[in-house]
Symmetry: none
Subunit: 199 residues, 4 copies
DNA sequence: TCATAAACGAGACGGTACGTCCGGTCTTCTT
DNA sequence: AAGAAGACCGGACGTACCGTCTCGTTTATGA
């Protein structure tokens, strides 16, 4: 998810090219700072200093600080959640949710998400990016449910979107308010409930 | 919900008393600003100017800007959600969720909530207050489910917390990401699903 | 020469008043920094830090950094040059120029002037203020010459302005280019030359 | 006065040779920008854009931005001041000063000088170059006075440096502060005064 | 009735972060 | 090798807010 999608340029590019090392340094610094304190602010200056680059290099490539943080998060989290296919809805859900809960409660990720939500709340652009990210994850879960439907595991009138949102809803709601844990145990119970409800 | 509960002072009060008009002016201004733009910042200065009062009057009675905003929201939203008792879990849930969804999608409330979440994300104190607020609402829903359990409408091993969080999860998740609506129709479907799952 | 001349306000001022201590702290810090290095930049941040005040307090009362520096200089230099009255043009000139040269070559003043000129060069507003300051000093010298004219010490067609500018010209030209010294010896020679030329 | 004098290279030149057109384009652009606004900043980027060349081409041949600006000025002004030899000090001075004043008050030159002084004030290197430039002009005037001395037109104890600095001092002082004009009339009066003073 | 004390509108204050601008250097591709 | 294009680091700029701190004024007691 690079912020400057590779518009297939016809013109042979002239001038110095974007420094990939700088880009990686910025993202790495963002990950370090996001994970470091308990949701500490992560200022642009601290980010630039940590990465050893100039502030302008950040603003040249990302529209806002939050966009950097989001990319730092998503590029990390992309491969931490699988889309299992065990042949049964409940076990697929259980596997998916266990992964999701685990990724969301790993201290680093949790700190990053918390800080990121703070950015999203004040920067609409980040909020959009975050929604995009969420949409992708939703798609993964939808795939699992669709497969089950094709296998005939779900009743006719099942509202797939609603089912998916119940799963993610529990995840986000507990993540945000923290009033109850996100253990594998909970993941399995939720998987059972949802699978039952879909029949 | 005055933030400074009237500690029963021994010493007979002297000096000018709190100006209730100022308090109301602040809350009204907060509601106006929260509802106005699409999640615009609502600075303390703008709040004071809008209310026609001095900044100190805000900080004299509330611990932070967010606390004002939260009180502005909750004092509005308090009575928009009922705790119905129809004698059947599904209809109780449906009534509760219809109210919840309706309150959450009313344009003013939605704008206020959005802006407030932005504050919560950066001000831990507001986040706590917001959690308190949420806890109250959760308690209402729990009450409904508990009543159903006493009537024998739920299975033995039902995880009441999880059930409640599915309901609120759908609400918050859709509210935040906006990828799907929060219609009464959805509320009824969700109520049916949850009631079925509880059996 | 306060930046906010005392407009005789009719309205009884409301709100906190300007903090004179802060104003003095800023000017003192400016003098310290101007005198410190050999014409080092004096950034606004360093000025604020040195004075222990917020940047905004500077920008609230002065239009630009240079305006602060100029006021710091002029409030110091105001009383270092006298307007002597010995009864003879040459000795008056000699006294005046000795003072002028001495004030201009004192290490602190020289450093301050140098740094200030750098500001004046890029900030037209400071240039104007500097011109005002210069105009005042010119006036002092003119007074001396006028007095001599009234005593009949000058020829009829003497161009007083030109005479004054020759004196200040030597001062500034040598100060800026530094190719020759500004000793009392030179001051006396110049005084003699000018007095002779005026006859 | 090219900054890189053509050292007679022994090594048979390899690679592309210096592009004289680029050099001229840079100087022309500098003159245009210097003369354009009322002392506007003239950034390196704007200079490169105006000249249609890359920034590096500037820094390959000049040590700093100000050096370019100075060369742009001096290469223009070089031949605008003559060193006349009429056989009499006063008329020589008058001719010299008329030229000097005229060159310094031509709108373009004035704008260029103003902008350049701004650079000199913040860039010591430019200040040095500017001093060099001034020294050359001073040398011209000294020559005039020395010739007069050889002809016996000056008194024994005349301080030639001081005389020269009176002339240039008037010029710079009036140029900088702008409080009085630099007309040919003034030039002639000044010439007469100085010639008288030297006897 | 008057002194005292608190609340108020106004707004200056110290401080932190922001996003922009510019100078001088470095890198890429073309000539 | 020189040039055009332009990304890079570093650092100052001027602005926006926050939460605190005076000011002078207003209002309610208790002496």
């Amino acid at each position: 998810m690079p912020p400057t999608p590779p518009v297939p340029e016809r013109r042979p590019h002239t001038g110095r090219r974007r420094n990939e090392a700088a880009r990686q340094a910025i993202l790495a610094a963002a990950r370090r700072l996001l994970a470091a304190g308990g949701g500490e602010p992560v200022t642009v200056d601290s980010l630039a200093r940590e990465a050893g680059i100039g502030k302008q290099t950040i603003y040249r490539w990302w529209p806002s600080k939050g966009a950097v943080l989001l990319e730092a998060l998503t590029s990390t989290a992309r491969d931490q959640v699988s889309t299992p296919d065990t042949g049964a809805l409940e076990s697929d859900l259980a596997a998916f949710l266990c992964d999701l809960f685990q990724a969301g409660t790993a201290p680093d990720n949790a700190a990053m998400l918390g800080t990121l939500l703070a950015e999203a709340a004040r920067d609409p652009q980040v909020a959009d990016l975050l929604r995009d990210f969420t949409r992708t994850r939703r798609g993964d879960l939808r795939t699992i449910v669709e497969r089950a439907r094709e296998r005939g595991e779900t009743a006719a009138g099942t509202d797939v979107d609603l089912l998916v949102d119940q799963a993610f809803g529990v995840y986000w709601f507990r993540f945000l308010s923290g009033h109850a844990p996100l253990t594998p145990e909970v993941a399995r119970t939720l998987a059972r409930t949802l699978a039952l409800g879909a029949r």
